[in-house]
Amino acid sequence: MTQGFIIHNRSVMWFIGLLGLFTLLVTLGSEAMGTGVISTSLVKTLGKTLCLCLIAIAMDVVWGYCGILSLGHFAFFGIGGYAIGMWLMYARTETIVTESLARQVIPPTPAEVTDAIGAQIFGVVGSSDFPLIWSFADSLILQLLMVVLVPGLLALVFGWLAFRSRVTGVYLSILTQAMTLALSLYLFQNDSGLRGNNGLSGLQNIPGFESTPQATISLVFFWGSALALGLGYLLFAFVVGGKMGSIVQGIRDNEARVRFLGYRVEGYKLFVFTLTAVVSGIAGALYYPQAGIINPAEIAPIASIYLAVWVAIGGRGRLYGAVIGAALVSLLSSWFTGGGAPDVNLGFYTVQWTDWWLVLLGVSFVCVTLFAPKGIGGLFDYLIRKPR
């Protein structure tokens, strides 16, 4: 059945094919393969971009297909990152602490080891006790479950509350934004148990692979990100392609009519909201080991709005549009703000892109909203004539 599904969806086939080709090219060009055409930091950037594409298609499904403009999906992304970051940080600190304590004449008790790890991790916020939320930090499996469960449960509870009381439209957007704000404010506190605004750091060091060079690790993560993006794309294409996709798009176009037709609108919305939240969490869990650090600023409401910007520029209501938008805008953004773009000398004033990139982004975003509501993806409509 799946085979039939792919064959009937040409765009999915194209996308998977292009993604595979891209992965192959990056692999061949990477330092890990010895060619070194693509530097390790670029591999990391590309890997991170793939994760951003993954959360962008999740956003596209919830907004472009279901009509819920969620300004909270980056919070789920961040939660996923924190969940995996806790294990990475704990396991690595444990290795370091055990090594240093092993040199003592008297072997350490388990309590001493835990205390030392706690002091090492929470020293920056003036504490040494493990908060309750770190109870499972020593187990990779449980923390991986957290990556899925915490965003999923949060989305489930939040969505249930919101959809049940029929909060829709801009109200829902603001409510999700409030949720994101509350979460980031909570994480900014030093006694939140997640190191306040220091965040979690050193996540690029994978415990157990200390001797493996970063070139290899980054390539493996790139593969993982590409695989996750491919699977996520398949999953969402499947979800929005079938009968369910039609209902979901019906909810977007006229919620009341779908309800009058006898469908449980809240159930569908809740399913889409929760599923996309889970995928966002997974994307975050893949992103932050490549970024190396996560702090509460990443979860600030502005990040979720940028996510909406990517999807809008790329083109809503088509999965490849979200991928194009996320990849293009985030790569352009790092090119412009990273000082890679050449300054433009107007004679009387030199435009430095580090200063003017956000102005350009804002203005072009307004233009896209006004003149090209279908985004960049809309261009494909002109190229590909749909079979009638």
């Binding site: 008297i106 509350l161 801009v170 109200y171 957007s173 900014f188 975003f365 909203t369 509501p373």
Partner: protein, 644 residues
């Protein structure tokens, strides 16, 4: 001066000394102490000097402590002196006759710091009646800083002669403090303490707390003295704290922490074993305790206290807090006074909190009302509203660069800020929002695009550092009602401004043609259009009005917070909450929302003062829950207008 001093001396019932009598003989009587005073002996000299009641005494004391008194080494006479190269300008202490001599035959008196302090205390009683108001004031301040039993009598004596009403009240208050602590007759002290129960000042509370000071006492029996309370181990203090007190009082051996145990074990390794246990097995507390016990048996380390031993030691002792004040009647009175003061302070604190909440609410109201108008009338979410606030604040800043007078510049800035943001709002409505009326979510995103562009533009023009918007001098300071209740004038001004705008907006909406048309378009744009109202024009004007008010709010906010390119973003989410909680499309709803959010935030901050971030987190969570139960806000629209 002489008359005042004489007056003081009569009141003080000090022995009268005839004016014009000489100081020198008294000094000569105590020549040795005056020449080389020590803290212990100087009081004899001072007592005699004060008792003499001579008018020269205060001047002498001042010069003495300023190292301005010289002694003739030959005949031991004292003079005021000032060095002038090798010469010394001498002034006779009694007659004031001036001579210039060679400094070789004279020595300077150098009282040390301790002596100078004692002299200063003696001086205070003279300064208390000084004709100069400033000196009396500073004498009172110095008493307030370092209250002392000796100062009570002169302070009491100086009250009746005090001409300045404010200072007189202050003297009476201070005298009360001093008699509460130092009066000799316990009845006087209790009377003074009772009178303090109506005083909510921090000083009065400090005096009462000072009287109620306790020290921790530990012993085998219930201690003597004025016992404040007997501590129960487990409820009042933890067992650890109790044991620490025992150790501090040398009643029990210090506990050996586990780190010390480990070090002791490491120091006693023989053949890879400690106390017969291989080191490799010492990775649990149990085996370590066993090994340590083995070492202790051999006398190599001090024995470790067992849990039972510790509990027995704690049980055998009584832990108590004993008042340093011995008279129970006085401590009881002080306790009663303090609890009455605390009730008053709590009431005043609540009033202060209410003021704070009202001022915060008025800020939120100002920030949100413009948004509420555009959101309510047009159903448009303006994410750039915060940037309009910022534009208003920067307008105020720019005006201040050209108009140096802060009052004038503020008066100019308010209408200018309105004009600038009105124009920006109209332009935005014409260029962008008009094309997106039927796509509210896209308006949200488009205005967000404008918001990031404006923010970055402001950063490029004004830089990233905060710019000050200085308020005029008459807005500096605070209205202090008591030590507990105070509010800064800027906040009062913002409150008044918010009230003005509330009145203005209600007037425009309810009493003008424009308001009528705005309400008509809000309720039913199609019907309004068929009645001859041009919805385009109304929308444009409404948007301009909402944005203009944001500009004015920006000036107001800039006055008490710093002007940065991000200041708008800090208020935007709060403003949205205010609008959503209050109910869309209603001025009173926005007022209710602002009051609710303002008082909620202050209330949570009061309960958890150390952590404003937590306060904000809880507030946002509360709002999320609130919207669950009243999705349309406090003041919900009814009828057809509420359909979507």
């Amino acid at each position: 001066m002489l008359r005042t001093l004489a007056c003081l001396l009569i009141i003080c019932a000090f022995p009268m000394g005839a004016v014009g009598q000489s100081l020198q003989p008294i000094l000569q009587t105590h020549a040795a102490e005056v020449a080389d005073p020590s803290r212990g002996s100087v009081s004899v000299v001072l007592d005699d000097l004060v008792a003499s009641g001579l008018p020269q005494v205060p001047t002498f004391l001042e010069r003495w402590s300023d190292k301005g008194v010289w002694q003739n080494t030959a005949d031991g006479q004292f003079y005021y002196g000032r060095t002038d190269g090798d010469d010394l300008a001498l002034t006779d202490i009694d007659t004031g006759t001036q001579t210039t001599v060679d400094r070789a035959g004279y020595t300077e008196l150098r009282p040390n710091g301790g002596v100078r302090r004692v002299i200063g205390t003696a001086l205070v009683q003279f300064q208390l009646s000084d004709p100069d108001l400033g000196r009396r004031q500073s004498a009172i301040d110095s008493i307030a800083r370092r209250p002392d039993a000796d100062q009570l009598a002169p302070l009491l004596a100086s009250i009746d002669g005090e001409p300045d009403t404010a200072l007189r009240a202050r003297k009476i208050q201070l005298a009360n403090f001093l008699s509460a602590s130092f009066a000799i007759d316990p009845a006087d002290r209790i009377a003074a303490i009772d009178s303090l129960s109506r005083d909510t000042s921090i000083e009065a509370r400090a005096v009462l707390n000072q009287i109620l000071t306790t020290r921790d006492v530990v012993g085998t029996d219930t201690p003597d003295g004025n016992i404040a309370r007997i501590l129960t181990v487990g409820t009042d203090i933890t067992a650890d704290q109790a044991y620490d007190r025992l150790v501090a009082a040398d009643l029990a051996p210090a506990a050996i922490p586990s780190a010390a145990v480990r070090d002791a074990l490491a120091a006693n390794i023989t053949d890879g074993r400690v106390g017969g246990i291989p080191t490799a097995q010492l990775n649990t507390e149990a085996t370590r305790a066993q090994a340590y016990a083995a070492l202790a048996d051999r006398g190599l380390v001090p024995p470790r206290l067992t849990e039972e031993g510790r509990a027995a030691a704690i049980a055998a002792h009584v832990f108590a807090e004993v008042h340093t004040e011995n008279d129970p009647a006085i401590t009881d009175a002080a306790r009663a006074a303090l609890s009455s003061v605390e009730t008053r302070v709590a009431a005043a604190g609540f009033a202060d909190l209410t003021l704070d909440a009202m001022s915060l609410a008025s800020i939120y109201f100002l920030a949100a009302i413009g948004l509420a108008i555009t959101f309510g009338v047009m159903g448009v979410i303006n994410m750039a509203h915060g940037e309009f606030i910022m534009m208003g604040a920067y307008t105020g800043y720019v005006v201040q660069q050209f108009v140096p007078d802060y009052t004038v510049s503020l008066i100019l800035a308010l209408p200018l800020a309105f004009a600038v943001t009105f124009a920006a709002g109209v332009a935005m409505e014409r260029l962008v929002i008009r094309h997106l009326y039927h796509r509210p979510l896209e308006t949200l995103l488009a205005t967000f695009g404008i918001s990031i562009a404006l923010q970055q533009l402001a950063k490029n023009i004004f830089g990233t550092q905060a710019r000050p918007l200085t308020s005029p001098g008459w807005l500096d300071g605070a209205w202090v009602m008591s030590d507990v209740i105070q509010i800064s004038y800027i906040r009062i001004a913002i409150f008044v401004l918010a009230l003005l705008f509330l009145a203005l907006i209600v007037f425009i909406l309810k009493r003008t043609r424009l308001g009528l048309e705005v309400r008509a378009v809000t309720q039913n744009p199609g019907m309004a259009a068929s009645m001859g109202i041009d919805p385009d024009r109304i929308n444009m004007l409404t948007f301009g009005l909402g944005s203009g008010i944001a500009g004015i709010a920006g000036v107001a906010i800039g006055l008490y917070a710093q002007v940065t390119s991000e200041m708008g973003a800090n208020y935007i989410v709060q403003s949205f909450m205010t609008v959503v909680v209050g109910g869309v499309g209603n001025v009173w709803g926005t007022l209710a929302g602002a009051s609710l959010i303002g008082s909620l935030q202050k209330g949570i901050e009061f309960l958890n003062p150390s952590n404003t971030l937590a306060a904000q987190t809880y507030m946002v969570l509360f709002i999320i829950l609130f919207i669950q139960f009243r999705p349309k806000g406090i003041v919900a629209q009814k009828g057809r207008a509420a359909a979507d």
